[in-house]
């Protein structure tokens, strides 16, 4: 068993140290037990935007669940900086409560009596959902549900925000506008983000650091800093050039 969330005060708030010696999926049926992750060591600085990328099935989501503390069945440990680390998780599907309105879904992420309840309308305006607070999620499009999930992730002002392919299966313009929205929210309140995607362009556009995973080795094979200024991130050509450099595309 592994220790998750040990409070180590030598680490700064919002930073984290992840060590996964081995993570095995147990054998099931005819399939033998196989390692999904091994020899992983990541140190993450506060307020960095780390993108983990790699082919599907390479263990990205498993790694994120280990960091989140949802999966404690692995060899290794995860250390969070600061005395009280608050984590937010934006999942691959929006995971809103369908029987609660958009406004209630966001409010539920906050403790009762928290002063930030007064900021829900402002948050909804920032994600472009002004006037939708009393709507039920299933009456909204997937893109709008994702906006609501973003609002829920940001309202709690987490020290660490985990995002698992939050813009997958959206049409291109919608995904692009949500990426720009995320950049805007992050610039306004920089926080440590660990973002998973298999979309290389998305990785370069959003990340300050990119970790590439490979399915065959079940580990991180490349660790790259993205050399783009905030203004260059909306420039398609600059993003493409950086993408070619990092992924050695020709």
């Amino acid at each position: 068993m592994a220790a998750v969330g040990d409070r180590v005060n030598t680490l700064a708030n919002g930073s984290l140290k992840v060590r996964v010696e081995r993570k095995i999926f147990p054998a099931s049926g005819t399939r033998e037990a196989q390692p999904v992750l091994k020899n992983i060591a990541i140190d993450i600085e506060p307020r960095s935007f780390v993108v983990i990328t790699g082919p599907s099935g390479c263990g990205k989501s498993t790694l994120l669940n280990i960091i989140a503390g949802l999966d404690s069945d692995f060899e290794g440990d995860v250390q969070l900086g600061g005395a009280e680390t608050r984590m937010g998780y934006i999942f691959q599907s929006p995971r809103l409560l369908p029987w609660r309105t958009v406004g209630e879904n966001i409010a539920l992420a906050l403790p009762d009596g928290d002063p930030r309840h007064g900021r829900i309308d402002e948050m909804l305006r920032q994600v472009g959902l002004e006037g939708f607070a009393s709507q039920y999620p299933e009456r909204l499009s997937l893109g709008m549900q994702r906006r609501a999930a973003l609002a829920r992730g940001f309202i709690t002002e987490p020290d660490i925000l985990l995002m698992d392919e939050p813009f997958v299966s959206l049409d291109d313009p919608t995904a692009q506008s949500l990426r720009e929205l995320l950049i805007g929210l992050w610039n306004r309140r920089p926080t440590t983000v660990i973002f998973i995607t298999h979309d290389r362009q998305e990785a370069v556009m959003l990340g300050t650091r990119i970790l590439r995973m490979s399915g065959a080795n079940a580990t991180i094979v490349q660790d790259e800093t993205v050399r783009l200024s905030p203004s260059e991130r909306t420039d398609r050509d600059k993003v493409l050039a950086e993408q070619r450099r990092i992924f050695r595309e020709t």
Partner: protein
Amino acid sequence: MQRLNPATLSGTAQPWWLRVAWGVGSIIGFLVFWEVMALLIQHRHLPTPTAVFAAMAREFESGQLMFHIGMTLYRVAVAFVLAMLIGSAIGIVMGRNGRIDQFFDTWLILFLNLPALVVIILCYVWFGRTEVAAIIAVAVNKIPNVAVTVREGARSLSRDLAEMAHMYRFGWWKTLRHVTLPQLAPYFMASARTGLSLVWKIVLVVELLGRSDGVGFQLGTYFQMFDVSMILAYALAFIIVVQIIEFGILQPIAARVNRWRR
């Protein structure tokens, strides 16, 4: 998380007054059919609806009708609430815990198949012909049905939403109220609706066999006198009461529980 709601699938094309007109017309048609048959057959064991409603009015004026219906309703209410609470608790525990489920599954099948009459007789034999014995007998008949239905709901609780609640630090109370119970609500509603009709039928048998008031007791008394008018009067009066509960209480609750569905 999408389920089809039969209520929204059928009859949406018709305006509400047309549906009501069909319902009322159907009832009037049945009463006319009954009246004609009774007049044709001319037998004292098949009274006309007019005679039945006259008997109902007499019994209502004497206060007997409301007293006995009240006693029956009280027993229905207590047994129903007990069965829902205990049955739900058993269902949730069995649905969440595989070992307990495996062990007690056979017990559940046993109780599901135990005839209602056997439970009633045993309760009266063991606890005497008391109010408590009567209510236990009814509740025990209903508990396994509730448990089986709610167990299905507890088995299908979403892991995704549980993880979300954990990450956003809902705590046990917020998780129960906003995540778990809303997922179980359709199963509670299903067992409540089938439960009400089952419970009131069993209450009548319990009253017939061991109580000295209630609709079941009155039916037994009029059976001994072969007073079919009065038997039908009580039966009809009780059907009306149950329909009022269905339309006045259960359907509005169902509509409220389902208001978020597309």
